[in-house]
């Protein structure tokens, strides 16, 4: 019984995590930047939506505005920070440190404005329960599954069916050639980070809707998502999503034997296993 419930909550967490993973994977596979600041955008999205809801905006409007704001912020980080560093031929290490700096700035602006205490969304339906057989989920969790699957399907359609999606994949697979054929990698990078930031805003709102907001809560999901991305195979959207669900399910089921405060250890253990035995990941597609 308990195992079944844990499996269900694992699926919910995994779906939300999956969106974080595919958005990070988009950025990482295309720009090759280890975009740590993504965790900051994830957190910021939730706080923006919270403020809008607090001032009386309907949730849908709040989500749309937050998604747009996150996309704009992502584009800003790429065009004002990463692109500048790229022009100066900065090393990978320098970009990484700058990204970490951007993360620290975002998290601490949030902490200074909203205090580091946990905040709950003032929405009463979010915790109303639905029972399916022996499993009990709340409205937010059902919404999370639906939105995440839609985001995954949307990303797949976008990447394979649209001109911009194809252009992004072209730049990801060979930036040099893309540059020669006037696909303008630098412009594509701005689009990619904007799209990824818009995507990551969705779990950034949905997860706190259930569990509440805290300014430093973005790092652990991002870490788990990057592990899922690596385990799934860098560049594979499906791999990142599937492995996120798998890791979250394993993590939730491990609660049967290991107390919850050690779940980061379980995640990390999975990562070490992959690193030792299959560092290229399971889905090594292009």
């Amino acid at each position: 019984m308990l195992a079944l419930q844990l499996l269900a909550t694992g699926l919910v967490t995994g779906c939300a995590l999956g969106v974080v993973a595919i958005s990070f994977s988009l950025v990482y596979a295309t720009t090759k930047i280890f975009h740590v600041a993504h965790a900051g955008i994830y957190t910021l999205g939730g706080y923006l939506a919270w403020s809008l809801v607090l001032y009386g905006a309907p949730l849908l409007i709040a989500v749309l505005i937050s998604v747009a704001a996150c996309a704009a912020l992502g584009a800003l980080i790429q065009s004002q920070l990463y692109a500048r560093l790229e022009r100066r031929r900065a090393t990978h290490l320098v970009v990484l440190i700058a990204s970490l700096g951007a993360l620290a700035v975002m998290q601490n602006i949030i902490a200074a404005v909203y205090t580091p205490d946990i905040l709950q969304f003032p929405i009463e339906w979010s915790s109303r329960m639905v029972s399916v057989g022996a499993i009990r989920l709340d409205y937010t969790q059902l919404l999370t599954i639906l939105v995440s699957l839609a985001a995954y399907a949307g990303t797949m359609l976008f990447a394979h069916g649209t001109i911009l999606g194809k252009r992004i994949r072209a730049v990801a697979s060979n930036p040099m050639l893309a540059d020669i054929t006037r696909l303008q990698p630098q412009t594509v990078y701005v689009y990619v980070i904007a799209i990824a930031s818009a995507l990551v805003c969705l779990p950034g709102i949905l997860v706190p809707l259930d569990l509440g907001l805290q300014p430093y809560n973005g790092v652990t999901p991002l870490l788990t998502a990057t592990i899922a991305m690596i385990a799934g195979g860098v560049g594979s959207i499906t791999g990142a999503f599937v492995l996120s669900v798998a890791i979250a399910v394993v993590q939730n089921l491990s609660l049967l034997v290991i107390p919850g405060e050690w779940s980061i250890g379980v995640t990390f253990f999975i990562f070490v296993i992959f690193m030792l035995f299959r560092p290229t990941g399971l889905f090594t597609a292009r």
Binding site: T91, A98, A104, V105, N108, I264, T267, P279
Partner: protein
Amino acid sequence: MDFLYSYIVLAEIYVLLGLSTNLLVGIAGIFSVSQAAVFGVGAYIVAHFMMAPDPLSFIPSLAIAAVGCVALNILVTLPALRVSGDYFVVTSFGIQLLATAVFTNWTAGTGGANGLPGIPPPDLLGLPIETTAQYAWLCTGAVVLGCLGFFLIMRAPFGRLLRAIREDETAVAAAGKNVLRAKVSAAALAGAFAGTAGGLYATFLSFIDPSSFDLDASILLLTMVVVGGARTLAGSIIGPFLLLALPQLLTLVEIPTTIAAAARQLIYGLLLIMFMLFRPQGLAGERL
């Protein structure tokens, strides 16, 4: 006067940590945000052995902490560095979060979130060190030894090998050098510095808790090296002394205490971005 001494002691402990971070990030070019975790492990090991039912004295405890941190760093870096650089980024974030979880939740060993009070003051071969002034001398000695070690390593063939790896890993491998072994050795050395610093920190404050060894602390260490300047001895010394004076300056500005910590971290983040954009070599460093 005591206030000045304790500032010097803390700054000198952070100089040791700066040397450690500089070895790893500046010289070997390995990005790491788990330096504070290693620092913490060193602190907890020293505290554990000095507070055991039949306590060890300071120097043996410090030696055990240093060896423990070397072992930890080897264990952590070996699988990740074998694969590629970005895997180590994930590893170091993971280790930092895992260490914070252990420090906070393993109540029997670390006192949990309440911390570990009552760590006895150190002694040097039977000579007790109790006043802050004596402590400043002890730390100065440790820092001089650390700097000497850093200077000698930089001049030795091993130092040149590390710098060559940072410039072009493939070329070094093609020249028949073992890149992985050099990188892991650098990490091991960094572990020894961080572990020693942890021991000094624990005995100086006589109280440790997880908040001194979290991700924010790792970011502070990185900021110190970035501001001071990567890859040079001077940079590792300037950075800690400057950045530890910053909280004192902030107390002069009227900031509510509730957001003081966030404001401090915000400044570190801004410093990281600004230095990377406009002066990646820091105040007294070489190109990062």
